[in-house]
């Protein structure tokens, strides 16, 4: 088997910004002293005059982005998910969400795959927080191809967008000629009749691997990539739930309020379905290598396989 190409979606974010920056003069990038880590440093090198380092002041950065957007610029405000969605939640809500300003929030280092930095920096709550803001679009791409497409879609979308990226290099799985990214549209990656597994972010590739193992055991799993957490592809969720009768969600996020929460909300109202939420089970993370953490918290291929097998 040939070596699978891996790249962290934060790298994709930085690269995509450079490409978009060449096309669009009104694109500006803001950072809070993490340009090296969020990978917007590549944009800074290419367009120093359009990169603004706000210093370690995330709340101020969100406000500056809001103000700039009122003058016709399209700011991408970048920092770790913990500080974008957590620390600056109220600024995002009141200065960006309420006036529905055209600000894009590039949140890197989401989830426990932050690794060694530990619980203070492992944000497993960002999607839950952002989902509560009316009009906020939430994109959680699964690989390099999808991340770049998501950044472009976010630029084209009029209104606030929260983009979620990871620190860990993940396999490229969407490098296909027919791949198409549309905000709000899930992608069926594998057909199956026994259970539907909705996965998002880096858990998509792990879920595909888990589906292979399940198939070897005679369990036929349908796998759907939900890159847009909000607005959720309700039509696809309901249709797949009715087809397979059982539903699993997989995310590198708390089981409260993220993909699992969103799918449960829709299904409980429109198509009550037996369901299992796989994610971080309402606990804080801890220090350790990212891959080991994914294993320990049961969101790697083996963990997903075991849980789905027991569920089905």
């Amino acid at each position: 088997m040939s070596e699978v190409k891996k790249i962290a979606t934060r790298e994709s974010y930085g690269n995509a910004l450079v490409e978009l920056g060449k096309k669009y003069d009104n694109l500006v990038v803001l950072d809070a002293d993490l340009a090296g880590a969020t990978k917007t440093g590549t944009f800074q090198k290419a367009f120093p005059e359009r990169h603004i380092d706000c210093g370690i002041a995330e709340c101020d950065m969100m406000g500056i982005a809001a103000g700039m957007s009122t003058t016709g610029k399209v700011p991408f405000a970048s920092t770790f998910a913990m500080f974008a969605a957590g620390r600056a939640y109220e600024q995002v809500r009141n200065s960006i969400g309420y006036p529905h300003l055209n600000v894009k929030i590039g949140a890197t280092h989401a989830g426990i795959s932050v690794g060694e930095d530990g619980a203070t920096h492992q944000c497993n709550e960002d999607m839950a927080l952002m989902r509560t803001i009316p009009g906020m679009v939430i994109l959680n791409p699964s690989d390099d191809v999808e991340a770049k497409a998501a950044v472009e879609a976010a630029y084209q979308h009029e209104g606030p967008v929260y983009l979620r990226f990871g620190r860990l290099a993940v396999p490229v799985i969407n490098d296909k000629p027919d791949y198409k990214f549309v905000i709000g549209k899930g992608i069926v990656l594998r057909e199956g009749k026994d259970v539907t597994i909705f996965a998002t972010g880096l858990c998509v590739s792990e879920t595909l691997a888990a589906a292979d193992k399940l198939a070897a055991d005679g369990i036929d799993a349908k796998v759907v990539n939900i890159h847009t957490i909000k607005p959720l592809d309700e039509e696809l969720v309901v249709k797949a739930a009715k087809e397979t009768g059982k539903v699993v969600t997989v995310e590198e996020h708390s089981v409260i309020g993220g993909l699992g929460g969103a799918v449960a909300e829709v299904l409980s109202e429109k198509a009550p379905t037996k369901m299992l939420r796989i994610g971080i089970n309402d606990v804080f993370g801890e220090s350790g290598p990212a891959v080991k953490l994914l294993e320990k918290y049961g969101i790697d291929a083996n963990g997903i396989y075991a849980k789905v097998k027991a569920f089905v």
Partner: protein, 279 residues
């Protein structure tokens, strides 16, 4: 406008504030009245704006960081012709576009939604930065409360503005000395305010009486002439200015007058208006 015309206009703005807050049975008259002269000066004298084209790209911008004094801003915008003064009576009513705090999506002339303290100044900094990046010559003004500057974000924004030498930005502090819980000196003193802004690389102008148009004119002229750094205008004002029983009373920070109080307040302002007409 000459000084007398500005005074007359400010008096009308004050009537609109009292009327709006009375009709709403809620709102913040104290800090609206203390800043009524400042609002009037900005919209009738200082700023390059056009009520017929509220979104004109090269207009000067104003961000009411102390968003709870929306009645002051709305009354001024109405006087300036952005919308009918009659609409002020719908302030805070269900279905009215005049929300309790500034709402840029629905109110003509409002450049930024605000109300959560400490946030407006950052947006103003963003606008000023955009102007610098684009080589545009519009200016950006933002009004903060002296209690508001207890918010840490104000100093994040100030550090950035000073560092970036945003000389197209004017930060105004309405130093009326009172916040909801009492005197700012008793609650959590922000003094010395001027030294703080100086330390953040602002050109600081202390205005002894921010309810005096001559002093406002001198301050804004100096701000306009200041190059290479943002300006902070710290203006001493009287909270509740113009309404006898509201002046210097913290209790009138966020309370509406009842019918009897409304009559007294309007009588105060009518009398002041008549006195101005005698001049």
């Amino acid at each position: 406008m000459n000084k007398l015309e500005l005074q007359k206009t400010a008096n009308e703005v004050r009537k609109g504030i009292v009327t709006a807050v009375h009709s709403a049975k809620a709102g913040h008259p104290g800090g609206s009245l203390s800043a009524a002269d400042l609002f009037t000066y900005l919209y009738f004298q200082e700023m390059n704006i056009d009520p017929k084209e509220p979104k004109k790209a090269d207009r000067d911008r104003f961000v009411l960081s102390k968003g709870h004094t929306a009645p002051g801003l709305y009354s001024t915008l109405a006087q300036r012709g952005y919308f009918p003064t009659e609409d002020l009576k719908t302030l805070r009513h269900l279905g009215s576009y005049l929300q309790g705090h500034p709402d840029m999506k629905h109110i003509p002339g409002v450049d930024m939604s605000s109300g959560s303290l400490g946030q407006g100044i950052s947006a103003a900094v963003g606008m000023a930065l955009s102007a610098k990046m684009d080589g545009a010559d519009y200016r950006v003004y933002t009004l903060l409360g002296d209690g508001e500057i207890q918010e840490g974000q104000v100093w994040e924004a100030s550090m950035f503005a000073g560092f970036r030498k945003l000389d197209n930005l004017v930060v105004i502090v309405d130093n009326n000395g009172l916040q909801i819980d009492g005197s700012i000196e008793d609650v959590c003193s922000p003094y010395p305010i001027d030294k703080k802004f100086e330390a953040f690389n602002f050109h600081v102008i202390n205005v002894a009486d921010g309810n005096d148009f001559d002093q406002l004119e001198a301050a804004f002229k100096e701000a306009r002439e200041t190059k290479g750094m943002p300006t902070a205008i710290i203006m001493k004002t009287v909270k509740g200015k113009g309404v006898s029983f509201m002046e210097n009373e913290a209790g009138w920070h966020g309370k509406a007058p009842n019918d009897a109080e409304y009559e007294i307040a309007m009588a105060d302002l009518e009398k002041a208006g008549e006195a101005l007409c005698q001049k």
